[in-house]
């Protein structure tokens, strides 16, 4: 019973803060709400017997990616920027189509998904994942490491100062 309470509480937290992310005009508030939403998702991972991935979720998403988002938002001073609203037609189409999408997904999930198969505990730990990564998935693992290296080089190349350009507002903090 206790885990149902936890599930509903954190599911509500995840959904509500996800809505704050897309409705709030202030990017800093959006980013912080997304952190809360990710944290609630980490709790979901614990409920799904994957504590290792829950910890990774917090470390990677909340601890690294979202800090990077916040860093960029603060660096570019975006919180004072006025964001023009999208066209009303686009707004209407966006909201209705995504709502229809959600309803359709939930409907077909309820109708066809394997929800009537009783779930049983499937406890996973770091060792199992590590063994799988270094045996069956060694090639994708190496590929991801190369991808990360490429991403580092790409990010440096993109955000680095272009020679001969006038200094920008964010540069003295960035370097």
């Amino acid at each position: 019973m206790f885990e149902y309470v936890i599930f509903f509480f954190f599911a509500a937290v995840a959904v509500i803060f996800a809505m704050v992310v897309i409705t709030n005009r202030n990017p800093v508030v959006s980013a912080l709400s997304l952190v809360v939403s990710f944290f609630a998702l980490a709790v979901m991972y614990v409920l799904l017997d994957a504590p290792f991935l829950a910890a990774l979720q917090v470390i990677v998403y909340a601890g690294a990616i979202m800090v990077l988002f916040l860093f960029v938002i603060m660096l570019l001073n975006l919180q004072h920027m006025h964001e023009p609203a999208t066209h009303p037609i686009q707004q209407f189409l966006g909201y209705t189509s995504s709502a229809a999408f959600a309803i359709a997904l939930v409907y077909y999930l309820l109708k066809y998904a394997a929800y009537n198969v009783p779930a049983s505990p499937f406890y996973t730990d770091a060792r199992m994942i590590g063994v799988a990564l270094f045996e069956a998935y060694i090639f994708p693992f190496e590929m991801v490491s190369i991808l990360l290296l490429a991403a580092i080089v790409g990010a440096l190349l993109l955000s680095g100062r272009v020679p001969g350009q006038r200094p920008n507002a964010g540069d003295e903090v960035a370097s």
Binding site: I22, L76, V144
Partner: protein, 100 residues
């Protein structure tokens, strides 16, 4: 034991919220955050099915998705910094040229 379908429904709702954010917003960083939200919704689905079918593949896939999301965030934010330095805005409608 919480049924798998509940996690799937939660995941579907989060994914739809992410889609809505991408469709209705103009701020590039907010759109980017909506994409991250969608990626996380998919991760939740992977984990729910991994438990349902007692398969490790779902967990491994989530692991890779996280690694790639980190790379994506680094490159994506670098692109936004570069865009801001050239255009003084991160409104995605303003970025309508393939080169600058």
């Amino acid at each position: 034991m919480i049924p798998t379908s509940w996690f799937l429904i939660l995941s579907a709702m989060l994914f739809a919220i992410g889609v809505c954010g991408v469709l209705t917003r103009k701020n590039g960083i907010t759109i980017f955050m909506s994409i991250e939200l969608m990626v996380n919704a998919v991760n939740l689905t992977f984990l729910a099915y991994a438990r349902q079918f007692h398969q490790l593949h779902g967990l491994i896939f989530v692991f890779f998705v996280m690694a790639i999301a980190a790379a994506e965030a680094a490159v994506g934010l670098a692109i936004f910094i570069s865009l801001f330095h050239h255009r003084e805005t991160i409104d995605v409608d303003e970025a309508n040229l393939m080169h600058w």
